[in-house]
Amino acid sequence: MNYQFNNCEELIALCKQEKLRISDVAIRREMELFKKSRPWVRNKMKAVRDTMKEAIDLGVKSTKKSKYGLVGGDAVKVYKNINKSGKFLHSKVAVRAMAYAIATNEQNARMGKIVAFPTAGGSGVLPAVLFSTFEHMKSSKRKMLNALFTASALGIAILKHGGTFSAAKAGCQAEVGVGVAMAAAGVTEMRGGTPEQCLNASALGLKNMLGLACDPLGGLVEVPCVKRNAIGATIAMAASDMSMMGVESVIPMDQVVEAMMNISASMSETVRETALGGLAVTRVGLKLREKMGLPPIPEKYLDWRNKKPSAKNKCGGCNGCG
């Protein structure tokens, strides 16, 4: 039997043909490709799961700042409020997911051990969504592990379809965006969704992260990465909810990936992990950069500050006022 797939369409066809969940296909693919036993594959994923949990547990308690003091302590602030969710707009599950996402990424920023799933910058979304839902549903550990397999299967489909995880290539949409897509698929399977609903959820999730720039202050994985993960987690949950309610994405997942790469081709170099554009060159961003003692940004990247908006541009330029 051949469990290989090159994109999401083939993945779904495999699931239908064999009447399997995405996670089963993922496990069988790995067993077949690398000639490993099922327990070997599962145990390796258990190590991934345990590392994620450790990072969350440490992160929600620690208020230690990162080296340059840009992040640290926000996870504690959110985590103490999860039982007061009546006061907030989001449900308890979502607030807890935010706390977990911040916790994971803060651990990353202060040199803790994390899983780069898919990368270190987007590592918060997946554990946040999965562990928060796991605690809410009191679901079995087995389902939780399967959700991780589903998420990785989606990652493979994205890579095989010409996608990337590198922010240097495609901006933040490829890190946090892909993280959101994978988390949405994983959590949908955990809640009992069909393979179609899983892929639909990931399409809805990734669609709403398209075009996101990678513009970290001073090139560090701190601002805005940490909070982007937290809000990414809520997007993944919203996508999963909508998919479970029967809302369908008009554009299928494969084509959303194509769109992502299409956008990346027209993205400027300054917003692809170079710290030369976007938030990195705002007034506060530049001030913090100076404080960190990093070399100043070349003047040619700061041209936009000198351009004054003309009156025409201000009102939309319809020439209506003559």
Binding site: L33, F34, K44, I114, A116, G218, L294
Partner: protein, 229 residues
Amino acid sequence: MNISLFDVAGPIMVGPSSSHTAGACKIGQMARALFNGTPTEVDFYLYGSFATVYQGHATDRALLAGVMKLRTSDPRLQDAFDIAAQKKLKYRFIPIKKDVPEHHPNTVRIILKNKKQNLSVVGSSIGGGKTKITFVNDVPVDFEMMAGRFFSILIGHDAKTFSLGPLYRKMEDWGSVIARQQTICSTKRENHCITVISIEDDYLKLAQVMELEKLPGVEFVRALTKLLK
């Protein structure tokens, strides 16, 4: 290239950046494995974005930790400087501000020294924790390591007396299938070549590696076993 589930779900690593921390640590490990001994002094020449943001991304600690054989997931990576002080390992970081177009943006040259020998390794971190070794002792090599899928051996030899025949025969006797083989000779140092052999789904024992070292014309054999995990 076959993508594994764990290329997506992983690596398990110490933050903050997969290319600047985990990748750097791996280059350090490679350099140490190639050195085959205990270095007393190590210099790091940092290029490209390694030179500008190495402190914020803890690239310096990661490189040093790799040279001291710590894994990418070892939480002691933070204390690399203290551990180096305990081990009496001298280290220097020299950022090169000049643009070097032949190198990937994230590149480091590591020079390891002790009383007997010295070794220079140039490595690049090419994203997502993947690394590439481009020069060993100024001999250009193309040595890519994807999450340690292959077991690789590196054979330094001279061009005249060494031949691949006996090597292949030995490997055949042991039943090891060679996935990739590559021989490169230095343009700078005459008669000085390096052969890289990658073996899939198998590895050589220490005794076998020692046996390879006895082949005529071989200067050194290095097996990169420790990097498998």
